[in-house]
Amino acid sequence: MNVKYFYSFLAVLVLALIAWVGCDLLGLQVLFGVILPYIAVVVFLVGFFLRMMDWARSTVPFQIPTTAGQAKSLPWIKFNAIDSPFTTGGVVARMFFEVVTFRSLFRNTRMRVNPDGRISYDIELWLWLFALAFHYTFFVVILRHARFFLEPLPLPFEILEKIDTFVQIGQPVISMSSFALLGTVLFLFVRRVYLPNIRMISLASDFFPLFLIFGIVFTGIFMRYFAKIDVTAAKELTYGLVSFNLPSLAKMQGIGSIFYIHVFFVSVLLVYFPWSKLMHMGGIFLSPTRNMANNTRAVRHVNPWNYPVNVHTYEEYEDDFREKMIEAGLPVDKKE
């Protein structure tokens, strides 16, 4: 077994065990349900901010967009305003489609060496599809959790939930997003393990968040459809967290450990987030190959640390070659 995913899997199991022991045996519901979530949210927000600032502190000496389409040049040549943006508006559009539709990943191809010796590059959309599905279902699941924090629930969330649960098979209603999210996590995991090249480039830090998110979704589904925790008590706690008006300890202890494992997983994810590759969420906005305009010849970009360098001047050059230049009939500045 590959140590990278074994250790990651083990780490998530240990985390679950810690929460279970803490709540079921030691009665530390306040720690896992109140203190750690508060800390996690603070660490996430502060950490995210610090990481962004840390990146932003590094300078951008050169304007280096990757152009993926015709640049603006002669007026009669149609240019690609999104993939080779000339204006800030174009850059915003490029970033928007990158962040919202994963435009670059949509270009993905798969290289194949065919028996006839021809190398082909066919459209390969599975990664794009599942990556997009993963992020969107995750987003929907997070929004759906507004039910646990907002009272009364604003209409948009109400509508979202209606859409998410429109397929109904008995009780309780099924939230499609949860299961879809579980499926996409599984796909991303299987892909990492199954494709030899992807397995080779994967690190433990690629598997850990997958297992952790799997754990979060799994415990969430489990307590909703199978373990049937005391939802009213759970809601009292979650409302309490946002209104700083916590329920009694007895009530908190009645919720069921699976809930605390779920919350603990989420807390760990929040704490882990700013220090991991998950920061690609913020980093993409600072990527100089995507967030800069392709107008470098029209508008000068300034390098804050541009410093003078030694150059071989024309005078030195002419000194080196004057006689030869004169002999060849080339014009010179100093005739000696």
């Binding site: 000496p61 389409g69 015709q70 993409i284 060849a328």
Partner: protein
């Protein structure tokens, strides 16, 4: 190269599956002849006062490094993380999705997993994590971190000189991570220890001293152009003698010296000379060449940002000395990345120049308003659009042409339509290669970023495989026999590549095609093209 395997043998041995059950960190680097370039000549390194100058051999155990080499690298890394946001962000945000893996021409051609862009970057990231992240310091290898060792250094050197900084991976990366940026930093770091290759260091030294990569001295440069002038006169009967270092000319023209030196670039150079003569005779345009700024290319770009700036400074300096209005640049790939994305920032503002206006058409090149340098295909396309050139495209009728987008104009500039427009106006038979191999998806010639040496021929043929494979497809399907390009390294590298993979196609610059089609005032009846081959319909007369 006698050691170079036959192409079918090489092709059948490419295996894209990684070695089973092995972590990439456990695969030792094997510096293999045919895949690497010779180390830099100490004399060339001295020209620009490079550190740790000595003679060393990559195949030997001892690379003669300074005692504190790890410290030098660590500090160099730290400095660059602060100076380049691209570098810092790209160190942190890769999720290893693998979208880039099979986009690299070196991976496609070699199957070596460390040529997957993501792994090439991980070679550096692993050390970054070890030195600069808490997770790497605590968890070590489990967090993908490893300390800098001599073995790692050799791996860096081997693989950062197996990347041509073509940016193809960057197009497909969902975060725009650009391996070129990582290779550029990697090479800068290696240069701190004097670990350059000779094919880069010597051209850089030459360029610094004599004005061009090939070390052509001023009188010889003039001789070489005059040789073309004679050839052109023989073919067309028109004297196209250019201006050299002429003060007060309208435009300074700068192109890669490779086109002055070797076929088939020389024919492109003849095309330039003819175009300028035409414009002089018909419209009185005064273009000058310079022997001091006689290099468009910039191998400093493959050494360090500082070296790039030192070499590039000549362009503006010479334009200022000569008092020209603006600068026109010839067909070259990385030259244009440097001009388009770096020159103005490094050596500008060029207030001594005017916003480029084509005096013949009246077109203002708004897109070059600040840098004041125009690409020759932009210039020629503008002339053609306004009907200012007299062209006979039938003279290129013996050619079935396809166009190879060079990496840098495609992905570092967005120059895609201009060369196509020119080709379509000077020739009648133009065919596009498959969509996934052109424009922003174009494949490198396999020899870019200073890797077009002789000793690394196997690497070059592997890296050029995707391009050659697409051309062969075109040759089989449409009888394509000519591969056009706008890059001097392409013109130097592609003929070998086309030969090796048996595509049957020849290589041309766009302005060679222009030269063939252009009707010069007062020219005699042409019987041959610029290569001395009989023109279409003239074959019999040539036989007589």
């Amino acid at each position: 190269m006698s050691d170079l395997p036959k192409s079918d043998e090489l092709f059948s041995h490419i295996d894209h599956r990684p070695p089973k059950g092995k972590d990439w960190m456990d695969i030792p680097v094997d510096i293999r002849p045919g895949m690497y370039c010779y180390s830099a000549n100490p004399k060339s390194m001295e020209t620009l006062s490079a550190p740790n100058v000595r003679k060393w051999n990559p195949l030997e155990e001892d690379w003669l490094l300074p005692d504190n080499w790890q410290e030098i690298l660590h500090n160099g890394l730290k400095e660059r993380l602060e100076k380049f946001r691209s570098f810092k962000v790209f160190m942190d945000i890769c999720v290893r999705c693998g979208a880039c893996a099979d986009k690299c021409h070196y991976f496609i051609g070699t199957g070596d997993p460390k040529n997957m862009p993501v792994l090439r970057a991980e070679l550096l990231r692993s050390v970054y994590r070890n030195d600069f992240t808490k997770a790497g310091k605590i968890l070590g290898r489990l967090a993908g971190a490893r300390p800098m060792t001599l073995e790692v250094l050799k791996e860096w050197w081997y693989y950062f000189f197996q990347c041509s900084e073509c940016r193809r991976c960057s197009v497909f990366c969902p975060y725009g991570i650009d391996t070129a940026e990582i290779t550029i930093m990697g090479r800068e770091l290696l240069n701190l220890l004097g670990l350059n290759i000779d094919w880069i260091a010597t051209p850089v030294s030459n360029c610094y001293q004599t004005g061009n990569h090939l070390g052509i001295q001023p009188h010889a440069f003039k001789d070489m152009l005059e040789f073309f002038v004679e050839d052109i006169e023989e073919i067309t009967g028109v004297n196209c003698t250019p201006n050299y270092n002429k003060k007060g000319a309208d435009i300074l023209f700068i192109t890669p010296s490779g086109d002055v030196f070797a076929d088939p670039g020389t024919y492109t150079c003849m095309g330039y000379l003819m175009l300028f003569q035409f414009l002089k005779d018909k419209y009185g345009l005064d273009v000058t060449w310079s022997t001091y700024a006689s290099e468009g290319g910039n191998f400093g770009f493959f050494t360090s940002h500082e070296t790039m700036k030192r070499l590039n400074a000549k362009m503006y300096a010479e334009a200022k000395r000569l008092g020209v209005k603006w600068i026109l640049g010839g067909e070259c790939g990385h030259m244009w990345r440097v001009i388009h994305q770096y020159m103005d920032t490094m050596n500008g503002p060029a207030d001594h120049l005017e916003v480029p206006v084509n005096p013949i058409t009246g077109t203002t090149f708004e897109n070059a308003a600040s840098t004041k340098m125009v690409h020759i295909t932009e210039f020629t396309a503008d002339l053609i659009k306004h009907g200012k050139l007299d062209l006979d495209p039938r003279r290129n009728d013996n050619l079935k042409i396809t166009f190879h987008d060079s990496c840098n104009p495609a992905r570092g500039m967005g120059l895609l339509e201009e060369p196509r427009y020119v080709i379509n106006n000077v020739a009648n038979h133009f065919y596009e290669m498959p969509a996934n191999t052109i424009r922003e998806n174009t494949f490198c010639c396999g020899s870019g970023s200073g890797l077009n040496a002789g000793e690394d021929m196997e690497l070059r043929m592997c890296g050029g495989l995707p391009r050659a494979n697409a051309v062969k497809y075109m040759a089989d399907k449409f009888d394509v026999n000519m591969l056009a390009c706008v890059c001097a390294i392409d013109r130097a590298a592609l003929p070998d590549l086309m030969n090796y993979w048996e595509t049957g196609a020849d290589v041309t610059g766009v302005h060679e095609l222009v030269g063939n089609a252009l009707i010069l005032p007062g020219e005699k009846k042409r019987e041959t093209d610029l290569r001395g081959e009989p023109l279409p319909g003239m074959e019999e007369e040539a036989d007589e």
